[in-house]
């Protein structure tokens, strides 16, 4: 079916929507229309505000400014329940299902009965003494598991869902759970369906199946919004693409009239000049060599596939990629937190030039080998620091094992805490304040300060400026540059391409757990990196559809 654009009715209108979280502006003056019977792809980099925008439509967040119109009528969506009353349903990345319930139980959970108590009782008294065949036709209670079955079955048949209604959720595959979520949303009467990165967890065959039912739903007149950053899928499924960049809606284009290169350009935008100073690396030597590294997650799915790269001393190696492409696992495997299944991680000791293999060693073993490796994880208060302990105790976490005495020595950590507070300008009432009470930027300063104090030879940082304001961010960049000067090999995982290009010496692009390319940060463009990140077949800027 070919979409007839001129005859289509507008279903939803966003007007000047803005939303910020603290200092971070997630959405700014977004204007966007969504038509009936179309599939709209919402495209954008990580943190461009796609999910936030849709969360406002589904009632999870409330916009700071601006209006939302449903079918021309101004509406106020304050909760998911409100959203349902306007026939809007969202399928989140993390499914909201009860594991021990069956499909059907999950579908009817929380639905308010459409039959009043009076109706129920009067039916009961009129009919309970009669024979089965003499009874009046019974009401259909949408909230009852029994009555819902035929309705749900009908929905499944209509759109081609395959769903076992009596299967428990804990026995289901991810794809089945997703199907259940969609059916559940449809059962609640959704006409506007939002899917947040629906293909991230699916296999190619499952993706095809999903796209088929989405097309069926579109032909039935439903509006479907897919949040994604995979260009090939955008081209395949969508009728129209709206591109978000840094919280702003750059514009929307009809999919037929565009190509992947144009979309990438819209997505990454013009280069922004950042005033980050970058020195030439001083005689770089290989420090950490990763070769053919593979790693599997708990479900046995491959997260890293044949990853090879070299980190050199006095150099910042940036790692770019869509979030969830394996960055976290890569760093954690090197740090010894996850066991890689095969491959080599070789550390070259600068003093002795001896090579040590780090794979399948625990963090303690790595330290005992004399490897000076520091890791600033993404999850600062979860993995990096202990929130309820004060600055001194957190400093001590890194060093208390070195002491030979059974009693802990607080003198040195106290000195270090004071040093970090003074030099990095951590604003805290005292060094005996628990870290949890500090702001995000100060927490990060404490963590980076502690890691740098151990004079690392390899420093790995994951999203170090996430949630930080401009000044704190620059402070972190300067700290990294200082370490670079001292000859540390720095691995920087970031999401902002402008920063990556301005700060790093070389940039490793990864996607789906594979190395997509290694580029010289001084020569590359955002467009090149963007294409490497989003496209499966690497490189080819010219092979448009």
């Amino acid at each position: 079916m070919v979409a007839k654009n001129n005859t289509k009715n507008i279903n939803i209108t966003f007007e000047n929507i803005s939303k910020s979280f603290g200092v971070v502006k997630a959405n700014q003056n977004v204007n966007l229309d969504i038509y009936e019977g179309e599939i709209l792809a919402l495209l954008g980099e990580n943190g461009s505000g796609k999910t936030t925008l849709m969360n406002m439509l589904s009632g999870i967040y409330y916009p700071d400014e601006g209006n939302i119109y449903v079918k021309g009528e101004k509406v106020n969506i304050a909760s998911p329940k409100d959203a349902f009353s306007y026939h809007i349903g969202m399928i989140h990345q993390h499914f909201k299902l009860i594991d021990v319930f069956t499909s059907l139980e999950n579908i009817v959970l929380g639905i308010e009965s459409n039959v009043s108590k009076k109706q129920k009782w009067s039916y009961f008294f009129k009919n309970f003494y009669k024979k089965k065949e003499d009874r009046e036709t019974k009401y259909i209670d949408r909230a009852s598991v029994k009555d819902a079955r035929p309705i749900v079955q009908e929905i499944c048949d209509k759109y081609g869902f395959i769903l076992d209604l009596d299967k428990k959720v804990y026995d289901m595959s991810v794809s089945e759970k997703q199907t259940l979520e969609i059916v559940k949303t449809l059962y609640r009467g959704a006409d506007i369906l939002i899917l947040d990165e629906p293909t991230a967890v699916l296999t190619p065959i499952e993706i095809d199946k999903l796209f088929n039912v989405l097309r069926n739903m579109k032909n039935d007149g439903k509006s479907i919004i897919i949040i994604t950053h995979k260009l090939n899928e955008v081209m395949e499924i969508s009728d129209r693409v709206a591109v978000l960049r840094k919280g702003e809606c750059i514009g929307s284009v009809v999919t037929k009239n565009t190509n992947e290169a144009e979309l990438t350009e819209m997505m990454v935008g013009e280069k922004i000049e950042l005033n980050i100073k970058r020195d030439e690396p001083v005689n770089p030597v290989d420090r950490l060599i990763v070769k053919d590294l593979e790693c599997k997650n708990e479900d046995g799915r491959e997260i890293l596939h044949d990853v090879s790269f070299t980190a050199r001393s006095g150099e910042i190696l940036g790692i770019a990629g869509i979030s969830g492409s394996g960055q976290k696992e890569l760093l954690e495997t090197i740090a010894g937190l996850i066991k890689g299944s095969s491959g080599e991680i070789t550390y070259i000791n600068p003093k002795t030039d001896k090579e040590v293999n780090l794979r399948s060693k625990s963090p303690a073993q790595i330290r005992d080998l004399g490897v000076r490796l520091s890791f600033v994880p993404e999850d600062r208060l979860g993995m990096g620091l202990v929130g309820n302990m004060d600055l001194v105790d957190n400093m001590m976490l890194r060093s208390y094992r070195k002491s030979k005495s059974h009693l802990v020595d607080r003198k040195k950590p106290t000195e270090l805490a004071n040093e970090v507070v003074n030099e990095l300008g951590v604003s805290t009432p005292s060094i005996h304040t628990s870290v949890r009470k500090l702001s995000g930027g100060n927490v990060q300063k404490v963590l980076v300060g502690r890691e740098i104090a151990s004079h690392p030879k390899v420093l790995m940082v994951a999203y170090p400026v996430r949630g930080l304001d401009i000044n704190s961010s620059y402070l972190i960049y300067n700290l990294l540059n200082e370490q670079k000067k001292k000859g540390t090999a720095i691995i920087y995982v970031g999401e902002d391409l402008d920063v990556l290009i301005a700060l790093s010496d070389r940039i490793l692009v990864i996607g789906d757990g594979e190395v997509r390319g290694l580029v010289d940060a001084r020569k590359t463009t955002k467009r090149e990196i963007g294409l490497l990140m989003t496209k499966k077949n690497e490189g080819g800027l010219d092979d448009d559809k």
Partner: protein, 324 residues
């Protein structure tokens, strides 16, 4: 024959204490609240029941045995419910509204309940308790003429049957009704339940208060039926409270199984007193058996790992709506 004539009937009798405590705790745990305060709640229930009995009996001081059965049972249940309700409210307010740690709150409630009951029981007029107990224990007269069968099925006071009925109704509600579905979803994943428009706080309060009332009946039953109106101290009741908590695990969170489970626990509990010629140590070892079996059940369910026999997923965790 001694088994059917004496042991089983008294096992059923003692089982009722576990049963009330266990069913009450199951309802709370289904809402995601691990209430370690059950022993304390039972103490509150005991105290309430005793206060009710002593008020009611004071108007029949000339001929205590002439007090009406129905009135006495009703008043003792009402007062017991009222006092357990207070205990439940304390727990619910602390853990649901203020989101305190459930384990700490529960343990505090246990010690608090023990202290309160020990303190106030000394001020209550207990002189009519044995009469009241005789009345509450009243069973149908024809039971005695039916031999073992009559003793097992008809030879108990009303509270025993009340316990079984409550267990069956609870099982039905949890399994078959929408209220039960909503309640179970809260215990499994409150965020999901919230997103589906279920009022999590309301359900949690409801489950904790109703659960507390039911558990409190266990304490009432202990004093007024099982031991015949005598009073030692809170320790005896609390011992049953802990066993009721163990029974919840033993019955894998199913109120219907709790009926059988409680009788099995009851058998283990009284069997040592009927086995002659065993040493003191052996007797104590036998009394440990219910706990040992609970541990074995826990090990088996963990090894089997089937989701159907696991505790509610969010058991023991407070629900913060903001952390979405």
């Amino acid at each position: 024959m001694i088994f059917f004539n004496t042991i089983l009937p008294s096992a059923i009798s003692i089982a009722t204490i576990f049963l009330f405590g266990c069913v009450g705790e199951i309802i709370m745990e289904k809402s995601g609240h691990l209430n370690l305060g059950i022993p304390g709640v039972m103490c509150f229930g005991t105290l309430g029941g005793c206060v009710g009995v002593s008020i009611f009996m004071s108007s029949y001081s000339s001929d205590p045995l002439s007090a009406p059965w129905f009135g006495l049972v009703l008043i003792s249940l009402l007062f017991s419910a009222l006092f357990s309700l207070i205990a439940g409210l304390i727990y619910a307010f602390l853990t649901v509204t203020l989101k305190c740690n459930q384990n700490v709150t529960g343990l505090a409630l246990t010690t608090f309940g023990g202290g309160v009951v020990d303190l106030f029981m000394s001020t209550i007029d207990k002189s009519y308790f044995s009469y009241a107990s005789k009345i509450i224990r009243y069973h149908l007269p024809f039971a005695d003429s039916l031999g073992a069968f009559g003793k097992i099925f008809f030879g108990h006071g009303i509270l025993v049957y009340l316990g079984i009925v409550i267990a069956l109704i609870t099982a039905f509600i949890l399994k078959k009704t929408r209220v039960g579905l909503s309640l179970r979803s809260i215990g499994e994943n409150p965020a999901t339940a919230d997103a589906q428009g279920i009022n999590v706080t309301k359900y949690k309060y409801g489950a904790i208060l109703i659960g507390s009332i039911i558990a409190g009946f266990g304490g009432l039953f202990y004093v007024m039926d099982y031991v015949g109106g005598s009073w030692e101290n809170s320790g005896t009741i609390q011992a049953f409270g802990w066993l009721a908590l163990a029974l919840v695990i033993f019955t894998v969170w199913r109120p219907s199984l709790a009926i059988i489970g409680s009788i099995i626990f009851g058998l283990f509990f009284i069997l040592p007193s009927y086995v002659s010629g065993i040493s003191f140590v052996t007797m104590k070892v036998l009394k440990i058996l219910p706990y040992v079996i609970t541990v074995i059940v826990l090990i088996i369910t963990s090894i089997v790992g089937k989701k159907g026999v696991q505790p509610p997923s969010s058991l023991g965790q407070s629900y913060f709506r903001e952390e979405r």
